[in-house]
């Protein structure tokens, strides 16, 4: 019953998140896309509430958190009139079926404990659980001298999400955290399909992420949440849903350390490409602000949230991963780092995920709208190598994380491939 309530607490977030349907461009998307974006929006809203309450010392209760959520539900009631332009995808049923097959396999994988991430046991779960018990971001717990594996300065979105679901269910659910993964996989696929209006690449994205989640063992970790927001943010920027991108980027910055690089790359790519792009028919509204100003405004909420988190971590002496940038770079290991990363990038399947995205891009050569996700893909790939070059024992880090970390540039390439079909 607890597991069921825990998941229900997450799914409930669709209702407050439906406030995003008030944006006309989102309100016109198909229902699965709107539901997926509403779930992502709900996750962003509830974690923002818990995050802000932490700083104003407001207790986390069902009432105090529930009231603003209900307010969002009430405000969202007029939004989302459904897809008016029922564009028929010739392959809709087949691609939907493929998406559902991968989701079903992921459900099987988590239900039989085949995709559990060790990090769920070691720190994501304990953090969510402890935050729920403390009713705040428990700096004492994060900084406790014995908990060296707790990654004290990792951004708090996922533990906050777990704390919210635990608030609903009255305790943390380990199985609930696992079953979140297929839900987020489906949400990522349908949100992308709606924003990019491309069923085939949505199916490919689901296949890559489904397989990547399994081989990278990410059940219960932050990666499915990160990829949901990254895909939404990048697709939103690429296909002219800029306000949605602002929200998703803020969530990305608060989900994982590498989210900061993703946000910076998105802002840079947007600035570089915005001049040469004409707005798509799905554009939210006529663009009012100048491109440079928009390039500053789009990552601004992300920068504010991330900045506040780093200040919080610094004040409570929790800086750990963010301090790694001060370490020395081991350029002598460059060849071995690149070699090992390339080995992991094959995903033990002869680089099929990369080929499936790069070959269509090479054939089509229509890069106009695809430049933005391509730049982000290149930037996130290089940043992963840059990070590994700072590690004391890069081989271990690459083996432990490359298959997860490389899902971000892969997802960017799928967005680019879809953009190139326009």
């Amino acid at each position: 019953m607890t597991d069921f309530l825990w998941i229900a607490g997450i799914l409930f977030l669709i209702f407050p998140g439906a406030i995003l349907w008030r944006m006309p461009a989102i309100g016109r998307l198909d229902l699965p896309a709107r539901l997926s974006i509403a779930l992502a929006g709900g996750i962003a809203i509830v974690t923002a509430i818990l995050y802000l309450y932490n700083f104003v010392h407001m207790p986390w209760t069902r009432f105090t958190v529930g009231v603003p959520l209900i307010a969002c539900v009430i405000l969202s009631r007029r939004g989302g009139e459904g897809s008016r332009d029922q564009e028929s995808f010739a392959s809709l049923s087949m691609t939907t079926m493929l998406i559902l097959i991968f989701a079903a396999l992921t459900i099987y994988g988590v239900a039989t404990a085949r995709e559990t991430c060790g990090d769920l046991i070691y720190f994501w779960g304990p953090k969510g659980q402890r935050f729920h018990q403390a009713g705040s971001i428990d700096a004492g717990f994060l900084g406790f001298r014995d908990y060296f594996l707790m990654h004290s300065d990792y951004p708090p979105l996922v533990p906050l999400l777990y704390a919210w679901a635990s608030l609903v269910a009255h305790r943390f659910s380990w199985w609930g955290a696992l079953f979140l993964m297929p839900i987020l996989l489906l949400a990522t696929a349908f949100a992308f399909r709606g924003l990019a209006r491309n069923g085939w690449y949505a199916a490919l994205l689901t296949a890559i992420l489904g397989y990547g989640f399994a081989i990278g063992m990410v059940g219960g970790a932050a990666d499915p949440v990160l990829l949901l927001f990254e895909v939404i943010a990048l697709a939103a920027l690429t296909f002219d849903f800029e306000i949605l991108a602002v929200i998703a980027l803020a969530a990305v910055a608060l989900t994982k350390v590498e989210g900061a690089v993703f946000v910076a790359m998105c802002a840079f790519a947007y600035l570089v490409t915005v001049w040469r792009r004409a707005p798509s028919p799905a554009a939210e509204r006529p663009r009012a602000a100048a491109p440079t100003l928009r390039a500053i405004l789009i990552p601004l909420p992300a920068a504010i949230f991330l900045g506040s988190w780093i200040v919080f971590a610094w004040r409570n002496q929790l800086i750990d991963s963010y301090g790694l940038a001060r370490g020395s770079i081991h350029l002598d290991l460059f060849a071995s780092v690149v070699g090992e990363t390339l080995r992991q990038a094959s995903y033990k399947i002869a680089y099929v995920p990369w080929l499936a995205t790069l070959v269509p891009l090479a054939l089509r050569r229509n890069f106009r709208r695809a430049w933005l996700p391509l730049i982000v893909a290149a930037g996130t790939l290089l940043s992963a190598l840059f990070y590994y070059l700072h590690a004391v024992s890069p081989s271990w880090w690459i083996e432990a994380s490359a298959q997860r970390v490389l899902l971000t540039p892969l997802a960017c390439l799928v967005v680019a491939s879809a953009a190139a079909t326009e």
């Binding site: 039989t112 491309n198 296949a207 070959v359 054939l363 079909t421």
Partner: protein, 134 residues
């Protein structure tokens, strides 16, 4: 989308589907039984925290709220997996590292804990709970 592009995407998706099913299969059976812990099939070998994850819920009701406790496998130099598993599984207690001063309660996974300052409180197939002798 062009037919050639659809074909590439479809073939890649089917390859990924086959690889995914293979990956799930090679993580070992049984394939249709409810697992006891969340790590039962993460690989063909037994996961390093598996015994702790079975033992800790059994030990949890025997521990007072707020008690200081540690968890490890005696004789194993890598104390990290069982210790951190206990941090998550015992949210009402303070779990401390086994590498410092030992607390009032010790959970020994698999192997017996031979410190004479402790007595056995409870015994399970996966390990034992010890309490310091006052």
């Amino acid at each position: 989308m062009r037919r050639s592009e659809k074909a590439i995407v479809a073939i890649a998706t089917l390859i990924l589907l086959t690889a995914y099913i293979t990956r799930l299969f090679t993580r070992g059976g049984p394939y249709f039984e409810r697992p006891l812990t969340i790590v039962d099939h993460v690989g063909p070998q037994r996961h390093e925290t598996r015994d702790a994850l079975v033992l800790l819920p059994k030990v949890r009701p025997l521990l007072p709220r707020g008690a200081r406790v540690t968890c490890f496998q005696p004789g194993n130099r890598d104390t990290m997996p069982d210790f951190f598993a206990a941090v998550g599984q015992l949210p009402q207690q303070t779990v401390v590292s086994p590498n410092g001063q030992l607390p009032e309660y010790v959970i020994a996974v698999r192997q017996p804990f031979t410190n004479t300052s402790y007595r056995v409180m409870a015994e399970f197939p996966e390990g034992r709970l010890y309490k310091a002798i006052p």
